[in-house]
């Protein structure tokens, strides 16, 4: 392996990188050893591809502890992200979508076959998963490789409760972590996203570079696969920004839903996608579950947000919510079908712009918390296999309720008790 670690000060002295086979963008907070370990993993990549690793911030000299004999002929260059970004905007640090777009632009510029975004840390600490995520792009012509993290009872709640079941129900493919954020993307798919963003003005017309990957690939019949990458270390919850988080995640999903309505209205059922690697199970957490605060927020929502919810939800659902809010915190349990219908009604209200979209999605937070409470209490201390079964049961409920969505979507003005 040739490893070029280029300090920022001396970058100009090195010949500029003109092309590559793969580009890896590191967005995760990896220290020097972390980057070195990741590069070591990439060094053993079969087929001796030329890999460019983009790292945020200045590149620290010689962090890589691999010897050429370990790595065959793989050429690996670690460069500062901003040095290769065709449109440096300074927004890289601010959002994952800006980083994604930048990574795609670099991939296009270097005419690479694909790229990989590394945005998470894994519990195992071994960097092999990055290579596993990129391999299907090269050897099996997959256009999108998504991670499949080992499920854990109280983690990735937004994914388990909305993203996975909704995308599975809409597009008919069982993609367990459709929003990554660690993904492998082919050049074709990256170019498609970039082209869409260049042709549309900023606003709802533009696609989210991460959230739209799965819908875009499936709508274009691009092969998608998932790779078992182990257990992900999730960032801690910032309670003050939870509603913003919900809005940021769901807005692009609902926008894509609107764009691809003709496709998903024809789709029935769902199929698994090709998977690589071995599923791993993680030991159940021993965290103390305190749901009082979340139940209180839900009860407050039922009391104070009724006016807003009544514009979105039909009377029968409002009645159910009212009944739930009267229960003691220990008794609150939201049925799967009710939760699926709530998501569908919010998606419809988002499409119809019943109220300001930001308000709409933020007002969903108390309902989401009620769901999280029910789900968390059910799975407290559960093994991975049980968690997975529970998530599958929820996804089946979404599929069972799909006729409700189709009917509401087609005839939103029809009386709905």
């Amino acid at each position: 392996m040739e490893v070029d670690s280029i300090p920022q000060q001396t970058q100009d002295k090195k010949p500029p990188i003109q092309s590559a086979d793969l580009v890896v963008g590191i967005l995760a907070d990896l220290d020097r050893d972390g980057v070195a370990s990741l590069c070591e993993g990439l060094g053993t990549f079969p087929g001796s591809p030329r890999i460019v690793v983009l790292q945020r911030g200045p590149i620290v000299d010689a962090p890589l502890a691999t010897s050429p004999s370990d790595c065959g002929t793989t050429s690996l260059s670690v460069v500062s992200w901003s040095s290769l970004d065709p449109e440096p905007s300074g927004a890289l640090q601010q959002s994952i979508s800006a980083a994604c777009l930048s990574l795609f632009a670099v991939t296009e510029k270097l005419k690479a076959r694909g790229c990989c975004l590394v945005a998470s840390k894994m519990e195992s600490g071994t960097p092999q998963w990055v290579g596993q995520l990129m391999q299907p792009l090269l050897d099996a012509d997959f256009h999108l490789v998504v991670p499949r993290y080992a499920p854990r009872s109280l983690q990735g709640m937004l994914n388990s409760s909305v993203l996975y079941p909704l995308i599975r129900c809409l597009y008919g493919k069982r993609i367990h972590n459709p929003l990554g954020p660690d993904v492998g993307v082919s050049q074709r798919l990256a170019q498609k996203i970039l082209g869409n963003n260049r042709n549309n003005k900023p606003g709802p017309g533009r696609t989210h570079p991460l959230a739209s990957l799965v819908p875009m690939a499936l709508l274009d019949n691009m092969p998608v696969c998932e790779v078992h990458v182990g257990a992900r270390v999730y960032p801690p919850t910032d309670w003050t920004n939870l509603s913003s988080l919900v809005a940021q995640v769901l807005d692009p999903i609902f926008l894509d839903m609107e764009r691809s309505a003709a496709f998903w209205q024809r789709t029935r059922g769902s199929l698994p996608i090709p998977a690589r690697g071995k599923p791993s199970s993680v030991s159940p957490g021993t965290e103390i579950l305190d749901t009082h605060r979340m139940v209180e927020t839900f009860q407050l929502g039922v009391r104070d947000l009724h006016e807003i919810w009544s514009l979105v939800l039909p009377p029968a659902i409002l009645l159910e919510l009212r009944k739930l809010s009267r229960l003691t915190p220990e008794q609150v349990h939201m049925p799967d079908a009710l939760w699926a219908r709530i998501i569908y009604d919010f998606a419809l209200a988002h499409r119809l712009r019943t109220i300001n979209r930001e308000h709409l999605l933020r007002s969903m937070t108390p309902l989401y918390l009620a769901w999280v409470v029910s789900f968390g209490r059910e799975l407290e201390g559960a093994e991975s296999a049980i968690v997975e079964k529970r998530i599958e049961r929820l996804a089946s409920a979404y599929e069972a309720e799909k006729p409700y969505l189709v009917s509401r979507w087609r005839w939103p003005d029809r009386f709905n008790p």
């Binding site: 983690q155 927020t297 104070d304 807003i308 308000h359 007002s363 108390p366 968390g376």
Partner: protein, 234 residues
């Protein structure tokens, strides 16, 4: 003597009839202008009603947070309210055009002053409309934010914000209409200052400990809860 009386009577009758004849074209003009304006008003109101019904204005309006407007509208329909307002404006305009046709100096002056005042009315209406939109938007934002932050008095906060902005908008509109500007200014100052002062007192006295803790927490930049929440969302 009799001749003089007869002459005076004939003169006054002639003068009256002449003046009446002079007024007649003006009166006819008023009636014609009124009739035409009624016809126009009816057509315009019908068009407005159809356009608004086509875009489901009533439903959208309640979606934008103006549900209370429906309650104050004839037939619970803001569409009807707007179409009737437009029709009334057209009829008033027709009436003013008709009055101006008298060509009498006083009526002309009256019409001129009415027309000169119209920009103020439009400006005030715009200020009220924008103020109302901003008030409702902010009230909804505060309500949702407060509920999500688990604040018990979310509705009270939201109503406070709404009335604060509404009072400001009404004061600006009255100022624009030049209706007792001194009193409005004074009343607004007292009312606005009162609201802010009461809020400050409520926060300062009622939530003294909460604010202190919050400030200490911000200063030290420590997590908002002592115990770490086990849930991870994304």
């Amino acid at each position: 003597m009799w001749n003089q009386v007869k002459h005076a009577l004939v003169d006054s009758t002639t003068r009256f009839l002449t003046e009446l004849a002079g007024l007649l074209p003006g009166m006819v003009a008023v009636i014609v202008a009124l009739l035409i304006s009624v016809l126009f008003a009816w057509i315009i109101a019908m068009v407005v009603r159809r356009v608004l019904s086509g875009m489901q204005f009533d439903k959208r309006l309640s979606g934008w947070g103006f549900s209370s407007l429906s309650e104050g509208s004839p037939g619970m329909s803001p569409t009807l309210l707007i179409s009737r307002t437009v029709a009334s404006l057209v009829i008033i305009t027709g009436l003013l055009i008709g009055i101006a046709a008298f060509d009498a100096e006083s009526t002309s002056l009256f019409v001129r002053s009415v027309f000169a005042y119209i920009p103020n009315i439009i400006g005030a209406a715009l200020v009220l409309l924008v103020g109302s939109v901003i008030a409702r938007f902010l009230a909804r934002s505060v309500l949702i934010g407060a509920v999500n932050m688990n604040l018990q008095h979310a509705r009270l906060l939201s109503a406070g914000v709404k009335w604060l902005v509404t009072v400001l908008a009404v004061a600006m509109a009255l100022e624009h209409l030049r209706i007792a500007p001194g009193i409005v200014e004074l009343a607004f100052g007292i009312l606005f200052g009162g609201i802010v002062l009461s809020l400050a007192l409520a926060v300062g006295l009622g939530s003294k400990e909460l604010v202190t803790k919050s400030l200490e927490r911000d200063g030290k930049n420590v997590p908002s809860e002592n115990f770490e929440e086990p849930f991870r969302h994304v």
